[in-house]
């Protein structure tokens, strides 16, 4: 189960932002006075429409989270935030049945551990596959690629569940964490990046100076990989924060991740309160939203860079 969630296998994302060339090209075009890539009015309107559609459900969630429940129904819908957001957040967080704080805590532990592990193990493996010669490396790399393409989660879920039952690990965090500690995509991405970012000569020179392989990894490869580690870390964090199926299999509503807690709130009979449901959902999005606002450029570039390789 080394690929994370169902409909989101990531494309290869080898390296850090590289906006410069595109921008230069664009400038040259402007200078040559070429109208080929000038957006028409229709294009502009279409894009504005798409952007509104992208944002509207999120905006509407904030609106309802800041109002009282009955505002969520009827047409035209309420479109202006109300003044209840603080109160709603407080109510949601302190509701003993909602388990939101516990869910946030569990999700932070799980996602943090998984992200750290995936990034670390991927730099080790990526370095080995990119720069070291060893027998069987081609076959092993092919295995990594294979693991990226097969939906292992759905295929392996039954035995993994059986094992967790046997170990009596149901409802524990390690049951959620362990299957996600490695990710074939991470190895692949780091291999691509090391190949470009670390010249062979530097490694040779370090060897002549008597550096060990681990020393080279620590002092040469890791510093060069920093931008790629940020991108891989961000994508892994987002993916695992939003992971649902496996935590849903092994955790209970009493010890949930944030996603399990949201499902519980939105379906339980005790919470017919829509503003409460939307407030909880809003809370569950906030960590990722912060990452997106702060690192949006890296996330966009990471997704785009990866796909052209």
């Amino acid at each position: 189960m080394s690929t994370a969630t169902a409909p989101s296998p990531l494309p290869p994302v080898p390296e850090a932002p590289e906006e410069q060339p595109a921008r230069k090209r664009r400038k040259r075009e402007v200078e040559s006075g070429e109208g080929l890539f000038a957006p028409s009015m229709l294009t502009r309107l279409g894009l504005i429409g798409v952007a509104l559609l992208s944002i509207f459900p999120l905006y509407w969630m904030i609106v309802i989270a800041s109002r009282i429940s009955s505002d969520a129904s009827g047409f035209p819908p309420a479109l202006i935030p109300g003044g209840n957001l603080g109160q709603n957040i407080q109510d949601a967080l302190t509701n003993p049945e909602a388990n939101l704080l516990l869910g946030l805590r569990n999700s932070l532990i799980i996602t943090g551990t998984v992200t750290f592990s995936v990034v670390l193990i991927s730099t080790l493996g990526g370095f080995a596959f990119a720069k070291l010669r060893f027998r069987g490396s081609k076959i092993l790399m092919a295995t990594v690629l294979f693991s990226m393409m097969v939906p292992l989660q759905q295929l392996g879920i039954v035995p993994l569940y059986m094992v967790m039952v046997e170990l009596e690990w149901l409802d524990t965090l390690q049951a959620v964490i362990l299957p996600f500690l490695v990710n074939g995509f991470g190895i692949f991405m780091m291999r691509q990046y090391v190949e470009q970012a670390v010249p062979d000569e530097i490694i040779e020179a370090a060897r002549i100076d008597g550096a060990s392989t681990i020393g080279i990894w620590w002092r040469i490869v890791l510093p060069a990989l920093r931008p790629a580690m940020v991108v891989l870390g961000l994508l892994t964090f987002m993916l695992n924060w939003n992971e649902f199926l496996w935590p849903f299999m092994v955790l209970s509503n009493e010890n949930p991740t944030i996603q399990i807690a949201i499902r519980q709130i939105s379906t339980a009979t005790w919470s017919a309160d829509l503003s409460m449901i939307f407030t909880g959902t809003l809370i569950s999005i906030i960590p990722i939203a912060i990452l997106f606002v702060v690192f949006g450029r890296q996330i966009v570039s990471g997704i785009m860079e990866g796909s052209t390789k």
């Binding site: 080394s2 169902a6 409909p7 989101s8 296998p9 664009r26 075009e29 080929l36 890539f37 957006p39 294009t43 279409g46 894009l47 798409v50 952007a51 559609l53 992208s54 009827g74 047409f75 035209p76 193990i121 991927s122 080790l124 493996g125 080995a128 010669r133 060893f134 295995t143 990594v144 097969v150 939906p151 292992l152 759905q154 295929l155 392996g156 879920i157 039954v158 035995p159 993994l160 059986m162 039952v165 299957p179 500690l181 490695v182 060990s212 392989t213 681990i214 990894w217 939105s266 379906t267 939307f278 959902t281 569950s284 939203a289 949006g296 450029r297 966009v300 785009m304 860079e305 052209t308």
Partner: protein, 310 residues
């Protein structure tokens, strides 16, 4: 006199040689050990489990060959329907999603002010977890107080009970998938579009080709590899659809009163969690895998064909 197997090699040099030979394996070992335990072993073991009558809390297991498979295919109606539902939602979601993504990418590829802002706006839905998407869209498509029905009634039409019908529920669920993934695919197409040499377009313009002709005759064929990639990713994602239909059905696994929007992944989890039947759910897992493989191959052939005729 000290005997050395390799005269002239110091202790340090031999250590270096061992380091060069062995350390690569140590570096890749963490990945492969964890992958073997949590990826490969479960996959293979699923095959074993699928051929046994085996239930939770029951230590005995009996070899039954392919009985679990035949049970699913011939006696458990929900399974076959779930394959149809999954395929239907996959088609309904993926085609408009990728076509829209192509058009949005084409728009983003124009000379825009603040290109990064537009890209982030289009990508924003990916921030939302699938559960959150389910919560929000379940209210947008709600029967009584939903926004869509509110709009329909506002303009004088009758509201629709989106959950009850097979096609209407597929439609609502597809909207969730499309909303979350369209921008992501658009960015992937955009990245590929930026690598197309601009002089192709300049030449076409000189020859009098319209923008529309350029899009279909230059852009789309040049994007062929990346279209194949996105179709593959969408196939795997679409065929394992789980959270969207579950959240649409108030968090339940039965996919509506008649299972009209129950996907195969939901059937698998339902058999495992509600019935504790390891053998049959393992068989469902392998059948799902086969369906995914077939769908992926068909998609590859179709995409290849369409492009080839251009």
């Amino acid at each position: 006199m000290t005997t050395r197997t390799a005269p002239g090699l110091s202790w340090r040099q031999r250590l270096t040689r061992a380091d060069v030979k062995a350390t690569p394996y140590a570096l890749v070992a963490p990945y492969f050990i964890l992958f073997a335990v949590f990826g490969l072993f479960p996959m293979v073991y699923t095959l074993y489990a699928s051929m046994h009558a085996w239930k939770l809390g029951n230590p005995t297991r009996e070899f039954v060959g392919l009985d679990n498979y035949t049970f699913l295919l011939t006696q458990y109606d929900r399974f076959n329907w779930s394959v149809l539902n999954t395929l239907g939602m996959f088609v309904m979601a993926t085609i408009p999603q990728l076509v829209c993504a192509l058009m949005v990418a084409n728009a983003l590829n124009k000379r825009l002010r603040r290109p990064m802002m537009w890209r982030m706006l289009v990508l924003a839905p990916i921030v939302t977890s699938v559960v959150a998407v389910g919560v929000i869209f379940a209210r947008i498509w709600g029967e009584q107080y939903g926004m869509v029905n509110g709009f329909l009634e506002f303009i004088g039409l009758e509201g629709v009970n989106w959950q009850v019908g097979r096609l209407s529920s597929w439609f609502a669920i597809s909207s969730m998938v499309d909303w979350r993934w369209m921008g992501y695919n658009a960015l992937i197409y955009l990245a590929a579009m930026q690598t197309i040499p601009r002089n192709l377009y300049e030449a076409a313009t000189v020859d009098g080709a319209t923008a529309r002709q350029q899009f279909w005759k230059i852009t789309v064929p040049q994007l062929k590899p990346v279209i194949i990639f996105t179709v593959f990713v969408s196939s795997v994602g679409g065929m394992t659809l789980f959270v969207e239909p579950m959240m649409f059905g108030s968090g339940r696994l039965d996919g509506g009163a008649n299972g009209q929007f129950q996907t195969t992944a939901m059937v698998l989890v339902d058999i495992l969690r509600s019935h504790g039947n390891y053998g049959i759910s393992a068989a469902a897992g392998w059948l799902l895998f086969l369906v995914i493989a077939v769908v992926a191959i068909i998609n590859f052939l179709v995409v290849n064909r369409i492009q080839g005729n251009k």
